[in-house]
Symmetry: C2
Subunit: 317 residues, 2 copies
Amino acid sequence: MQKYIVGVDIGGTTIKLAIFPVGERATETWEIKTTDREHILEIWKDIADAIRAKFAELGYDMTQLAAVGMDLPGPICDNGYLPWCVNLGMGACYPAKELSDVLGGVPVAACNDANAAALGEVYYGAAKGADNAALFTLGTGVGGGIIVGGRIVAGNRGIGGEVGHFVVNPDETEKCNCGNRGCLEQYCSATGMVRMAKKLLAKGELKSKLYDLPEDAITAKDICDVAKEGDELGLEVIDIYSKYLAIAASHITLTVDPDVIIIGGGVSKAGAILIDKVAEYVAEYTHIAEKKPAIVLAELGNDAGTYGSAALASQLL
Amino acid sequence: MQKYIVGVDIGGTTIKLAIFPVGERATETWEIKTTDREHILEIWKDIADAIRAKFAELGYDMTQLAAVGMDLPGPICDNGYLPWCVNLGMGACYPAKELSDVLGGVPVAACNDANAAALGEVYYGAAKGADNAALFTLGTGVGGGIIVGGRIVAGNRGIGGEVGHFVVNPDETEKCNCGNRGCLEQYCSATGMVRMAKKLLAKGELKSKLYDLPEDAITAKDICDVAKEGDELGLEVIDIYSKYLAIAASHITLTVDPDVIIIGGGVSKAGAILIDKVAEYVAEYTHIAEKKPAIVLAELGNDAGTYGSAALASQLL
């Protein structure tokens, strides 16, 4: 009888779910709200109920559920422990075990959301077939995932792939959200890019169309857009941004030798103007590598979590 | 019947060999010269002959040879390919396959020498039992090894663990041996430490006993020795050195979450004055990690290669 894997992507407001016939792409996707419950720990029961209801609707028997994978926005250690997850207001628990218990012992695996995205791209997306890979998600923050031998590297503290907090500028004076100074996230998140642009605008040394915008309204997209048109200041921001990202990417390259470095998240929508510059600096900063890792755009977008979670679950079979 | 593993550590002038009863430490070690042959590719035959002769001497039958591991000073890709090995004047070959062939098909595994040292420390030394670990060898150059899930991470290009060429200072103007600028090796090798000291001596802003030495005679040991006595310039060199090493170590930490970071090589003999400072900066640069990786001194010294090679061979069984 056909067996299925369910991938569950738990975000702060929405839980995305998808059903995958084993070895195939998703055939069914749906969502539930993360916040429709009195206590966050009811989340496991809600997810189980959602799976049961969808299986009933589709005429599947629950014995056809081979495994469940899930990801959430927090660190998950190699032993399955989640020390904390600020966005979900939970922590100090073993998510996979909790969900497996309410599902009557079905095998469940859990991981960090950016780690899931990396695995998803390796199984189904831009890095298909890569042995080792690294992913950067460039959004409000900077996340990442490291894949070695086709498996997520999380580590005993779950900090594998926490690339957003690489200190890339020890001389930075402003603080990162994490409390440290000089983290990659301070430059290569969308807000980081805007911060750099505002600093250059304040200096007033470079010409820019951005001077025509209200300063508080400037977005990362605006910066990339004017850069594409040759804006002097916009191009300078892209250059600094790419250097910092390439420092991180090159260090990862000389650590785990990824075949592919995947760039995802909102900022990656800038496309070639960013990717090409990053690739140029990665090539420079990995001088000893005869062959450079491919730098590619992520393909799975908002489905990365469910696909990656399903890929993780498939490793339990 | 007792089975044995042989670990072979191939250096530019000497080949170290050691016999390990499976699951135990070395019971026999010996050396042959690397250079006693007309053509480097006779090396495989020489190693096989050396193993056969030693087995005969000890009264072991060659059927008791379960596996051989070896390391050499070049990159070895995941598929066993050695693209180049400057020190041995060879390249474009599959060392493990070559040796296995002359040994009549005995399983053989090969890896980079610093990678072997890392694995050796995880199996037998300072990082015993670690799942993930990283090693820096701080000598004439800076080498390294990355262990994830108890296995070496080499990658498809064999550049996993090439930590000496992390660009840690993109503003550097002088060139590294690799041709790039700003590599970790330019600061954290023994010669790099001396280079930094000479720069500070030339500036003349800090007091130092090193002014009493002929400039060309200053060694890394001299710098560490005066620093231990509180020398102003010596301590400044240790500080800069530790910052650069910690940048690299922290990036590795946020990539593969090592339980232990092992520091080996000649410079590591400086001991606590260096290790403590590195640990201090690693803690600072891994702000988001609640528990910091342990920073420890390597234990295996010159035996790291044979022990690590034997550990690698044991993974074939």
